[in-house]
């Protein structure tokens, strides 16, 4: 479909004067609308007969009050950003709403997409933007007693700006008291009478063997049956988005590794793709292929952890040790190539940090060979185990419609039967040159989600093999002033180069003003970085859209009516990481 066709369609439908298009560095169709039109427009887009946008991919905001480069944009203090995804058009659409004033509000989208709930609570928590027409807003990432809204520009970013932090014992007790589950405060309890005598609440987490991190779920149980489930997240929140606003473009790279901390370098890819779009940097061939190879290696690493912990959730105690040993082998390669292991922080703007070491190809090929063998063993021990199947088949099953409605991506979505893999549909970062298959399943249950992951590991091995076979020669980093400082030896000869070098090394590059979003098919689903540059050495706004955030919101829907044992299986099959949920 022709680019920006959707913008013209919207202008025809709603009137050209009400749709204000904006040019962005990523070329994503972007339209400003007024708050009054928002719901009509979203509902039109969601239900359009052809070329609909059935998924609310992301919902976030920008504090525009200190932004100086807003050429061609309507005046706004706070901007709401909605990103919708259309499978049919294979295109995203960004809708922006300008809000004025210090305590703005906007109509809630929860009536259209139930998945908007968590996102709107996050925007309320971070920006103090209120939403009308939905249950009252509660903080989601910050503790209930937090003052201020962290992503507002006036909120300090450094601990040293905030004064000494301390709590008296009474304050501690009061804060703990506030964290206690209270159905009224959480506005979660349905009508009371249906709760039988055997109904009780149980706190699962934030410290629980199967929470896979600091996830807290309050389960309403009737015997062992989960009547309802209320997730409470934010225990792993580290303000990654706020940190983006005070780290240089370059020094933020290692932070991205720690978002989905199981998939290391894979996280750097969307961030750098977005930076490179902003800066207009062409990445050399060799760097592209090296990045793909490392990303796929990390996909295997992440999937291995998922595989092992999932089987442990089902009660098998041995497989996880095998998976972790295989993961160690992969880390050996990561270590040889990057010097780091889980979080190498090794990709760079315009390429990678250094060239591949001698003998890398033999290491990689030996690993591929080893993995092919062990994956077969795991099939026998886990995938074909009848007891394992009895626990997972049909458990936590989801229809494709529900998955799309709730913003599920990645293996989650493919398990429901949609052949949607960004590496195929919108090849980025050099994926178009590789030959691989996209596995899909039809059941949408826990077993299928695992099956997809397992097959994806095999496909990743194929890609890695192709990387080894066809590794191009050439530079491993773009020769671009925003990517690399001038050559060191020349700095000794003229002052201009010396100054350039000094600035590039000590402050990092200043990226041209603009906005860019880059999305990759990460290990757990689609991961996006939406960067706003105001022409400075640091990002003006860094938005990280993670798959786990969307997926964890679906847990209650999948677990209702099943038992606590099933809940553990469902959580295991979701493949989330709390760092990826809370950022």
């Amino acid at each position: 479909m022709e680019r920006d066709a959707i913008l013209r369609e919207l202008a025809e439908t709603f009137g050209a004067e009400r749709i204000h298009a904006q040019e962005t560095a990523d070329g994503l169709p972007t339209a400003w609308v007024e708050p009054g039109l928002l719901l009509d427009l979203l509902s039109y887009l969601k239900t359009a007969r052809s070329g609909a946008y059935p998924m609310l991919y992301d919902l976030t905001a920008i504090d525009e009050r200190e932004r100086s480069h807003r050429e061609g944009q309507p005046p706004s203090d706070f901007t709401m950003v909605y990103q919708l995804l259309s499978f049919e058009r294979n295109e995203d659409l960004r809708i922006k709403v300008a809000l004025e004033g210090q305590a703005p509000s906007v109509p809630s989208a929860t009536c259209l997409w139930p998945s908007a709930d968590f996102y709107e609570r996050e925007v309320w928590d971070m920006f103090g933007i209120a939403f009308e027409g939905r249950p009252a807003l509660r903080r989601i990432l910050m503790p209930p007693w937090w003052e201020g809204h962290p992503l507002r520009k006036e909120h300090p970013a450094r601990a040293t700006d905030m004064g000494r932090f301390g709590m008296s014992e009474d304050e501690q007790a009061a804060m703990l008291e506030e964290l206690k589950f209270d159905p009224v405060k959480w506005q979660v309890d349905g009508p009371g009478p249906e709760a039988g005598a055997g109904t009780f609440y149980i706190n699962i987490g934030p410290q629980h063997p199967s929470a896979h991190g600091v996830l807290r779920l309050v389960a309403k149980l009737e015997g062992e049956v989960v009547v309802d489930l209320y997730p409470d997240i934010g225990y792993h929140h580290r303000g990654a988005e706020k940190m983006g606003e005070r780290q240089s473009w370059h020094t933020y790279i290692p932070y991205t590794d720690r978002i989905d901390y199981l998939a290391g370098s894979m996280n750097e890819l969307p961030y750098l793709l977005a930076v490179e779009k902003l800066a207009g940097i062409e990445v050399p061939e060799r760097a592209l292929v090296i990045r793909v190879m490392m990303a796929e290696l990390f996909r295997i690493i992440s999937h291995l952890v998922f595989y092992g912990t999932f089987s442990q959730d089902v009660g098998q105690m041995s497989p996880v040790f095998y998976m972790f040993n295989d993961r160690e082998r992969a880390f050996d390669i990561v270590e040889a190539v990057t010097g780091g292991r889980m979080h190498p922080g090794w990709f760079r703007i315009g390429g990678v940090a250094m060239d591949l070491p001698r003998g890398w190809d033999e290491m990689v090929l030996a690993f591929v060979k080893h993995m092919r063998g062990t994956l077969k063993d795991y099939d026998a021990a886990i995938m074909r185990s009848s007891l394992f199947k009895a626990r997972t088949v049909g458990v936590g099953a989801l229809s494709l419609g529900e998955a799309v409605e709730w913003g599920a991506t990645g293996p989650f979505l493919r398990a429901c039967g949609l052949d949607w893999d960004l590496r195929k549909k919108r090849p980025y970062g050099g994926y178009e040159r590789f030959d691989f298959d996209v596995p899909t399943a039809t059941g949408g249950d826990s077993y299928d989600r695992l099956a997809i992951h397992v097959e994806e590991m095999r496909q990743s091995l194929r890609i890695i093999e192709q990387c080894v076979a066809g590794m191009p020669a050439g530079p491993y980093k773009a020769d671009h002033p925003l990517a690399v400082p001038p050559p060191k030896d020349r700095t000794m000869r003229d002052i201009e180069t010396l100054i350039d070098h000094f600035l590039a090394v000590s402050w990092g590059p200043n990226l041209p003003p603009g906005e860019a979003c880059a999305t990759v098919e990460a290990a757990k689903g689609q991961n996006s970085y939406y960067l706003v540059s105001d022409g400075g050495g640091m990002s003006y706004r860094t938005r990280i859209r993670t798959p786990s955030f969307a997926h964890i919101q679906m847990a209650p829907m999948m677990a209702r009516g099943l038992t606590i044992s099933d809940l553990v299986v469902i959580l295991g099959s979701v493949d989330y990481v709390l760092a990826d949920v809370d950022r």
Binding site: Q316, R391, D566, V568
Partner: protein
Amino acid sequence: MSETAGFPIVAGILSVLFGVLIVAALSIWLERRLLGLLQQRSGPNRVGPLGLLQVVADTVKIFAKENWVPPFADKVVFVLAPPIVIATALASFAVVPLAPGFVVADFNVGLLFFLGMSSLAVYGVALSGWASNSKFSLLGSVRAVGQMVSYEVFMGLSLLGVVAQAGSFSLVDIVNAQKGLWNCVPQALGFAVFFVASLAETRRVPFDLPEAENELVAGYHTEYSGFKFAMFYLGEYVGVTLNSAIIVTLFFGGWSGPFLPPIAWFLVKTVFFIAVFILVRGSLPRPRYDQLISFGWKLMLPLALVNLVATGAIVLATAGPR
């Protein structure tokens, strides 16, 4: 009792008691090493030769822990529950003949005593969950009661075939009746059912639902620590040792075997079954609660009944009129 006439009864009891505790403690070591072997890792190998003293070190550590009772618990019951688990398992050893003439009490209803004791053990688990006054513990002990009541039924039934063949409930008589052919051949079905039931009785994977770490944190003993926890922990291994010993006694000829002295044969066979228990733990996932219960009632119970009826018919047919 008559056979132990020349044998001081107190010495007999003490030697069995200590022997069992040592074997149980060693089986903790065996389990950790074997699981290590199964899982591409070493297991404890630092304390003493081959890590053998690890259990001693752990015991010292656990003795040094604070003897703590949660403030919300029912104190008396909370303290009483763990000894029940370990005491019933130890008491059952009274009827297990370790070698000819080496049995603390040769009851004529020895087998029933064993079944009775293992039924009593469920009180320890049930009370511990109840007294803990914690939701995870309660869920665990409710699971335990449901599971053990269901599995007790066919555990007893699966053994009646053995009883019918030997014509006695005494374990010594049952061992003696296996002189020609071990019971594991004619009673193969009974053995299979009993093995499953004994896995469930000892609450070992795949029947460890009462403590299901991934779901209930530690199930009925979530709130326990220190020495009281150690009693549950050791009780599990005494239970494994007991059930292995019973399997050997009932189905694998007890102490009988060539060359080696009878007590050695008994030990070798028992340790073998302990190892089987461990291997099962290392390889199987855990079924869901409803699957577990329906497996018991819908598959195991009918199998046990079939075994009993078939054995009864054959015994009647071959014995002729009396």
